[in-house]
Structures are given as structure tokens and as C-alpha cells.
Amino acid sequence: MKILVTLKRVPDPEQKVKFKGDAIDFTGVNWVPNQFDEYAVEAALRLTENASAGGAGGAVRDGEVVVVSIGPKEVAQQLRAALAMGADRAILIDGDDGALDAEMVARTLVKLVEQEKPDLLLMGKLAADSENNQVGQLAAGYLHWPQATFAATIQAAEDGKALDVGREVDSGVEIKRVTLPAVVTVDLRIIAPQAIKNGKTAPDHAYPEGPRYASLKGIMAAKKKPITETALATLGIAPSLRVKTTAVTAPPARKAGVKVASVEELVAKLHNEAKVL
């Protein structure tokens, strides 16, 4: 199976957001891979290996994983990390994150899918910075491919021509069969030890929870793996936006609370001011 995986870099979600006027100040920001995309890379690797075959030497690769990112040249660092985890090659599309919207990203991915012809476009369910949760759905629509979003489990069908994708919905777990090629976006449970069954790795194989570590061997091997650089213009993507950001404001600071002297006063305030009683 050939899998195209998206990997976006986002500001470290654990870092405090700084503002400069009415825009976010990105100076000094620590950029990290979008967590759900990292999960997608891990899922892609699990889908394309036999983890039971390699013995102490690790898993045997069986398939191809191509990681793609749209962003500045520095994204190479995050792509290199994915290559160190085990992805086969990477594509860096030069682009300014501020000049993109979900629709344009989807169009770009469609173009890339036409060139790369993967069996599966695998993505995180959303990016932690914009939280759009739109690109996978849009891309599937443009491609006329089946889609399964918020994947918690993936099981390859016996003939290898479809995937059974488990989705945690309000009423329980829903299994959707998508024929390949397809678009799948992953949720956080996809990195559970037994979330992925690819028909090659032993069905009882349990992975360590979470995305795998890049071993030193992997990091050294990644130096030799190719990162192909291209640009939106080269791919023929017209820079038109459907969504424009008109304003960004910091959440208002929390107001100080008040101390009440008695239960009566509290009840009165809840009744008269908060109007919850």
C-alpha cells in the first residue's frame, strides 16, 4: 500500500500565545508537529509493515509512506523527524501558512494525489492551531473518493482493497468500510496498542502506546532519505482564498471574583445577579 500522509507544523500548544497588536506574535514560538498528524504518520507506518516478522531487528517494511507538508523551509525539520520514525520520503511544498485556507490546502493535496497516486490519503483529524477539521473532507469531495473521518481503529480488508475504519460516535462504535483509494483522518485512539490491523502483523501484536520513537538508527537513515521541494505555483495552485481571517483577539482576562459574607448573600447574588436560581 502507498500512503500519502500530511504533516503540519503548529506552535507548541503548551506554550502561551503572545499577541502583537491584533495578530498572533510568532517570534520565539517553538514549532512542533501537529499531534494528530504525528498519529497519522504512526498509523501509516503500522499499516505498511510487518511488525511480527523482523525479530529483534525491528519491523519489516511492506509499502510506501510519503509525508507531505505545506509551509516554510524550516518544516524540513518536522519532515525529517517523520523520516526518522520510518517514513520513506517527504515532499515540502513551499507556502506561507498565513496565505492558506483549508480549501486551498485541500486543492493542493488533490494535485499531489494526482501526481503520487497513493492508495490512501491519511491525515490527522485537524490541526491544533486552526482546528478547522475540513481539509480531509474537502479533499475526498474533490477526489470523489470515499472518506472515513475520526478513525479510532483501522483494519485492512482481507483482499487489501478496502479498509474497515472504526469511529467512536455518540451511540457506540461505527465501522465504515471504505474501498481504496480513500481519505481517512485519524483521532487520538488510533495510536492505541492494537488500533491497527493490517493483515500482515500478527493480530495479537501490541505496539507501545503512542507514536514510535525515532531511534538513532532511524535518525541516521533519515539523513539519506529524500525531501523533494516544490511550490504551490509549480503545482499550478491558484492563490485564491474562500476564507479570510478578519480579526484575531486574545480571550478577555478573567475578572476577579468576590467574597461573600454569608450564605444569604450568596443566594441573593445567585438569584439577583447571576440569575441562576
Binding site: 503548551e14 525539520q77 525529517r80 526518522a84 525515532a214 538513532l216 535518525i219 539523513k223
Partner: protein, 388 residues
């Protein structure tokens, strides 16, 4: 929340992408797999037996060596691994230092092809464990006085003597043992566990490095084949060259321990409220926190610059001494300060500072005591030997 590092001077920018990636891998490994188990092992006085294989899988053992299953990393990347391991525990870093710098390095530098093939891939994978026998009960800072002898026989050598304070001694499948031959020369020997006349005893009752094994090695008419000698070794400079590698790693490791203590003290003092405000709001506390940060920043820059010099083949042993001396001394001070700022909580293993403080007492003393490094530097700058 996972560890974010202490980086007041944007030293991250001094690292290559690859070095950062390696550091981040080990940072996550330490947070996920070692932090949850370290206090338990320290309290019980046990070494985590699964650690060698895990470090081997990640490629951390003998990581700076070329070939034989080793990663062939540059000195800065190697140093960053030591930093992250010691951010958890000096005992864990000690294990890795001994395995890589004190056992794999001499086999790699002074061993025969057969010895290398036999030991290096297994040690890199963590399947075999090594120890380094130089120090003796009566000869620590002055190893040239060693009493362990290697006498020639028809078929090889006979070792007699005693080594003490040997990290991983009781675990080791092979010991690199330094002994004096009848000609008076110091040579290195590989002694395998189970060899007749070779016994180990673990040292009990340690206050320090409790999550690591420290032992004595006893040699009583221990017969070794000719193939046990490291043919390339000769003179005290051979073991000292190993120590030079290990001391370099320690200068990075100490940064890790100091960062752990600083982070803990900073977050504790920001939370701990006394007299209606966090204690971090008091001048005496701030002065201590700032002192720690200043020392860590100095240490980072020293270790980084030493690494780049080493990369260029220009690091002198005296420069290694300066980094080891400085970084370990300030890390020990940082641990003591952190313990102080944590008040009574600092004396329990619910927090790290007390453990680091106890560990760093050993690090202060081993691999060249603080005094010895001072004399090495004193001799270097004055030209006058003050050892004797």
C-alpha cells in the same frame, strides 16, 4: 506536562536539526519510560534490568563509536543523550557512560578485530553489559600506584588484585581490567564473567547512585588466555583516554541533573504559598533561582563549546577537566539549593532534588575528583605540578 528544557540563551539554535531530533527523542523516552520508575528503583536500591536493552534499541550505547552496530554520532549529539539520561538519574547516565565510554571505547580503540566482533554489537544492543576496573581500594586519584598484577604464563596471564567502586560490576558480562605486568607496564584485559578466580561483590548501603550497581571485583589467581589482553593498550594513558571520553559525557550529564533541579524548584516555589504569596515572590528565593539559571546557562555553553572542539579534534583533556569540574560542581550546588527551596518536601522521593543531590555527591568524586581536576588545570596554567 513533559519537560521543555531550560534554554535562557537560545542555545537550541547552536544545535543542528539532527542533534535536536536526537535530544527530543531521548527527552520523550526519559519522560515516558524512565521518570515513572526512577524513584522506585532508587528507593529499593535496584537497577532496572530492562534499561540496557531499551537503550540499545534506541541506539544510545556506544553511540559515538563507528561501526559494529554503533550509531556513529557526533560528540554534541552524544552529549545531549547523556544530558537527558542524567536529567532523570545520574545512575542511569553512569550505566550508559560506563558501557559506551569505558568499555566499548577501549575495546574499539585497543582491541583485536575478534574482540570487537565478539563484544561491540552485543554491547551496543544492550545484550551484554560491561564494567571498567581501574580504581582500587587504596588507589583512587592515583591509579599509577595500582597493585593489581598481570603475570605472564605459558598460555596467557594470571591476574591478582582487587578493584573497587566499579559501576555495573555485579551485572557485567565482561570487565575491562587494568593491571600491572611484570615489566611494570599497565595493560588492559577483558575478563569474562564466570572466569575461575574472578568474583564480584556489590557494595551495599550507598546513599548515592542507588539505581545503579556499584561493586568490587576480586581476582585470585585468575587465569586468562593470551587473547584476553587488549593489544593496543599500554601505559596509564590508555585508561585515562577512556576517562577523558566519560568525563566529557559527564559534563553534559550534569547539565541535565541541574536542569531537573531548577525546573522542580521553579515550579514548586511558584506554587508554594507562605505569608499569602508564592515563595517565588520573595527576594531570597529569586536570588537562588537566578543563580541556578545562571549556572545552568554557563554549563550549557561550556559543554556545547567543548563538544564542538571535540568534533574538530581539538579538545584538550584539560578543557574536559574544566567542563567536568565546573558543571558537576554547579549541578551539585543547584541540587542542594533546590532541596533547600523545597523545604521538608525536598527530603522525600516524591520530588527529585534530594535524589539528584545524593547522586551528584558521587559524580563530584568519581571520574576525577573536584580536587584532581583543579590540580590538572592548575598545572596546565602555571606549568607547576602540584600533585606530589
Amino acid at each position: 506536562m513533559s519537560f521543555r528544557g531550560v534554554d535562557y540563551y537560545a542555545t537550541d539554535e547552536l544545535l543542528t536539526d539532527e542533534e535536536r531530533l536526537i535530544r527530543d527523542t531521548f527527552r520523550r523516552f526519559v519522560d515516558d519510560e524512565l521518570m515513572p520508575i526512577v524513584a522506585g528503583h532508587f528507593r529499593a536500591g535496584t537497577f532496572p534490568r530492562e534499561l540496557p536493552a531499551r537503550l540499545g534499541e534506541l541506539g544510545a550505547l556506544g553511540a559515538s563509536l563507528q561501526g559494529y552496530g554503533c550509531a556513529g554520532l557526533g560528540p554534541v549529539a552524544y552529549g545531549l543523550i547523556m544530558q537527558e539520561l542524567e536529567r532523570c538519574d545520574s545512575g542511569f547516565r553512569s550505566f550508559a557512560s560506563v558501557q559506551g565510554s569505558l568499555v566499548m571505547y577501549p575495546i574499539h580503540s585497543y582491541g583485536t578485530e575478534e574482540q570487537k566482533q565478539r563484544w561491540l554489537p552485543a554491547m551496543a544492543a544492550g545484550r551484554a553489559i560491561g564494567c571498567f576496573g581501574l580504581t582500587e581500594p587504596d588507589f583512587g586519584s592515583n591509579p599509577s600506584g595500582m597493585r593489581t598484577t598481570a603475570t605472564r604464563t605459558n598460555t596467557g596471564w594470571v591476574l591478582n588484585g582487587e578493584k573497587r567502586w566499579i559501576t555495573s560490576g555485579g551485572l557485567a558480562d565482561v570487565a575491562v581490567v587494568w593491571a600491572r605486568t611484570s615489566e611494570g607496564e599497565i595493560r588492559g584485559f577483558l575478563v569474562e564473567r564466570g572466569t575461575k578466580g574472578f568474583a564480584t561483590h556489590d557494595i551495599e548501603g550507598k546513599f548515592s547512585l542507588r539505581a545503579s550497581v556499584t561493586s568490587e571485583l576480586i581476582f585470585e589467581d585468575c587465569h586468562l588466555p593470551e587473547s584476553a589482553i587488549l593489544p593496543g593498550s599500554g601505559g596509564l594513558k590508555s585508561p585515562l583516554s577512556c576517562l577523558n571520553q566519560a568525563r566529557y559525557g559527564i559534563s553534559w550529564g550534569a547539565v541535565g541533573a541541574a536542569m531537573a533541579c531548577y525546573e522542580e524548584a521553579l515550579s514548586y516555589t511558584k506554587e508554594r504559598v507562605q505569608f499569602r504569596r508564592p515563595i517565588a515572590g520573595y527576594q531570597l528565593v529569586q536570588a537562588k533561582l537566578v543563580g541556578m539559571l545562571e549556572d545552568i546557562t554557563n554549563s550549557q555553553l561550556l559543554a556545547w563549546r567543548l563538544g564542538r572542539l571535540k568534533e574538530a579534534g581539538r579538545a584538550r583533556p584539560q578543557q574536559v577537566s574544566l567542563a567536568k569540574r565546573h558543571n558537576v560542581r554547579v549541578a551539585l550546588e543547584a541540587a542542594r539549593t533546590a532541596r533547600d527551596l523545597l523545604g521538608a518536601n525536598g527530603v522525600t522521593d516524591e520530588y527529585q532534588a534530594g535524589r539528584h543531590m545524593c547522586n551528584l555527591e558521587s559524580v563530584f568524586t568519581y571520574e576525577g575528583t573536584d580536587h584532581i581536576h583543579t590540580l590538572i588545570l592548575g598545572q596546565d596554567i602555571t606549568g607547576i605540578n602540584a600533585f606530589e
